[in-house]
């Protein structure tokens, strides 16, 4: 974990590439806090944004996102060369699959899954969903991996016309990795449980710090509060109190 000042190589509506000197190795599913106002000493916007690492390679990190508010709009419009503070890698990340695995991604949650897919573990299936074709972040990247891949969209513009979980048929003993809307992850958990498969979910939440001091990112579980930043963002789906989250 460290904090470095990165420079924007490329920014667009759903994609941010940063040159991050000295970035430590990260695991799939880990995240970083991106400080957008670092040149303004963080005064406005004050808080850094938690963002899943989409992929990283020698000295550069790529993030994929949807513009949902002020922070992501600023991200999308960053000029090349702009300074962004990067704190990370943070969180636990995904445990590597020890057998067959199915990845289920919905909307911006897809960004957490790319590196897991890119490792191409044997028996991998990837299911990606969104409201419409344009919501499938990194569509071309996933297609180039040559893995078993299926899509679902609410409007039928790509793949199955319906929910991505309609495509999920967990295999006994496999691990289902899910990241997306709560309802999607909850359904993935039900299907996995019924098939005697394990289900890991990656949660997102508002957070101010990302390293366990603001305590803003709690989720309720039967065992009490858990922090998305330090206990997660990846949780065994069976340990979460699903009804309490909704």
């Amino acid at each position: 974990m460290k904090r470095v000042i990165a420079r924007v190589r490329e920014a667009a509506a759903t994609r941010l590439v940063l040159e991050v000197p000295g970035w430590p190795a990260h695991r799939p599913g880990q995240f970083a806090m991106l400080g957008l106002g670092s040149a303004l000493l963080h005064r406005d916007p004050l808080l850094p944004r938690p963002m899943a690492v989409y992929r990283g390679d020698a000295g550069a990190l790529e993030f994929r996102f949807k513009v949902v508010g002020r922070g992501t709009r600023i991200m999308a419009e960053l000029p090349p060369g702009a300074q962004v503070s990067v704190l990370g890698p943070l969180g636990n990340g995904f445990a590597a699959p020890d057998g067959p695995a199915t990845l289920v991604g919905g909307g911006s949650g897809i960004a957490s899954l790319y590196e897991l897919a890119a490792a191409r573990p044997p028996g991998l299936r990837v299911l990606l969903g969104g409201r419409t074709r344009a919501d499938i972040l990194g569509l071309e990247d996933f297609e180039q991996l040559g893995v078993e891949l299926a899509f679902a969209t609410d409007d039928g513009s790509l793949g199955h016309h319906g929910l991505v979980t309609d495509l999920l048929e967990p295999r006994a003993g496999e691990t289902v990795y899910a990241c997306g809307p709560l309802g999607m992850m909850q359904r993935a958990r039900e299907l996995a449980s019924a098939a005697r498969a394990r289900c890991l979910v990656s949660l997102e939440n508002n957070m101010a710090c990302g390293f366990g001091v603001c305590l803003g990112c709690v989720v309720r579980t039967p065992a009490g509060f858990r922090y998305v930043c330090t206990h997660g963002p990846v949780f065994d789906a069976d340990t979460l109190g699903w009804q309490a989250q909704a």
Binding site: G35, A208, F211, V218
Partner: protein, 309 residues
């Protein structure tokens, strides 16, 4: 970075390496920051407020961003005083000045927490959290009513021989009155300000942004409010003041010193940058070099007055 400038400070008789501490509730119990900074380089830390028993805090959502600030209603989630003494204190660097923050819901319980910490050699001073603005049964009454505040300081004063700081609520009509009350009951120093009561609305969902409704506003948005209150309090009492409120730079910290603070606490900015406290320290040193100030403590209360207009 700080060569040639004497940054040393003193707060209620406690010697500090420099005048920059980290504020309670923004640095956990210290160890959370160890991956990022050498804690012992700070003037000190004020650990997260402690209650007699562990406490879970409010149901989320409990933070939201605001213009140049943030609003929180964590409600003082903490591991309890015993776990702090047993598990957290021993892990901290021996030369780090540790101030314990105390919070409770009843006078007697406040005193009990103070008593428990009184015998703990590793704790340099106590800071009474009398001002948390989002706890229905707690801080708000203690910090907002001068008579209740007086009772609180009195029972805690009797419960500890350690230097006793009182962290004041800004949600009062007269900060000077509250400062005088604390001084009169034997407080050794004041920390101000705590978060300012606020409210944010998610207009799309037509709900308050926080489930609790009200929250405490912190960050650069409250800096001028905090400066004003430090300015007023420092003119009302003789005990030292630790200035808090949206400090992001060395110059922000210098402004608090000029208004009469003997030391400062960096709070919300640590969320955005775990090294914020050390950068503020370096900024104070840079200011001193640029303005040929030999000792940072020479800045305390050194605000110049305007000539008659």
């Amino acid at each position: 970075m700080s060569a040639n400038v004497d940054l040393s400070a003193q707060l209620c008789g406690v010697e500090l390496r420099n005048p920059v501490l980290l504020a309670s509730g923004t640095c956990g119990y210290g160890a959370e920051l160890s991956p990022f900074i050498a804690l012992e380089e700070l003037g000190g830390i004020v650990a997260k407020s402690l209650t007699l028993e562990p406490r879970a805090g409010n149901v989320p959502p409990r933070i939201t961003e605001t213009p140049s600030g943030m609003l929180n209603a964590i409600s003082l989630e903490n591991i309890g005083v015993e776990a702090f003494i047993r598990d957290k204190l021993p892990a901290l660097p021996p030369s780090l000045v540790v101030v314990a923050s105390v919070f409770e819901t009843e006078l007697e319980r406040y005193a009990e927490v103070c008593k428990r910490l009184d015998g703990v050699a590793r704790v340099a001073a106590l800071e009474l959290n009398a001002s948390c603005p989002h706890v229905k049964a707690g801080g708000i009454e203690f910090g907002q009513d001068p008579r209740v505040l007086a009772q609180l300081v009195r029972v805690c004063r009797q419960a500890t021989t350690k230097p006793l700081l009182v962290k004041l609520s800004p949600n009062v009509t007269s900060i000077a009155e509250m400062a005088r009350v604390c001084e009169g009951e034997g407080a050794d120093g004041l920390s101000l300000i705590n978060a300012v009561q606020g409210l944010m609305v998610d207009v799309h969902r037509r709900r308050t942004s926080l489930r609790n409704g009200l929250g405490g506003l912190s960050g650069p948005a409250i800096l001028p409010i905090a400066l004003r209150m430090v300015y007023q309090a420092s003119r009302a009492v003789k005990i030292p003041i630790c200035g808090i409120g949206g400090i992001a730079t060395g110059e922000d910290a210098v402004a608090f010193l000029l208004c009469g603070a003997s030391a400062v606490q960096v709070g919300t900015l640590t969320y955005t940058n775990p090294a914020a406290g050390l950068e503020v320290r370096d900024g104070i040193a840079a200011y001193c070099r640029a303005h040929r100030v030999a000792r940072a403590r020479d800045l305390i209360g050194a605000l110049e007055t305007w000539p008659p207009g």
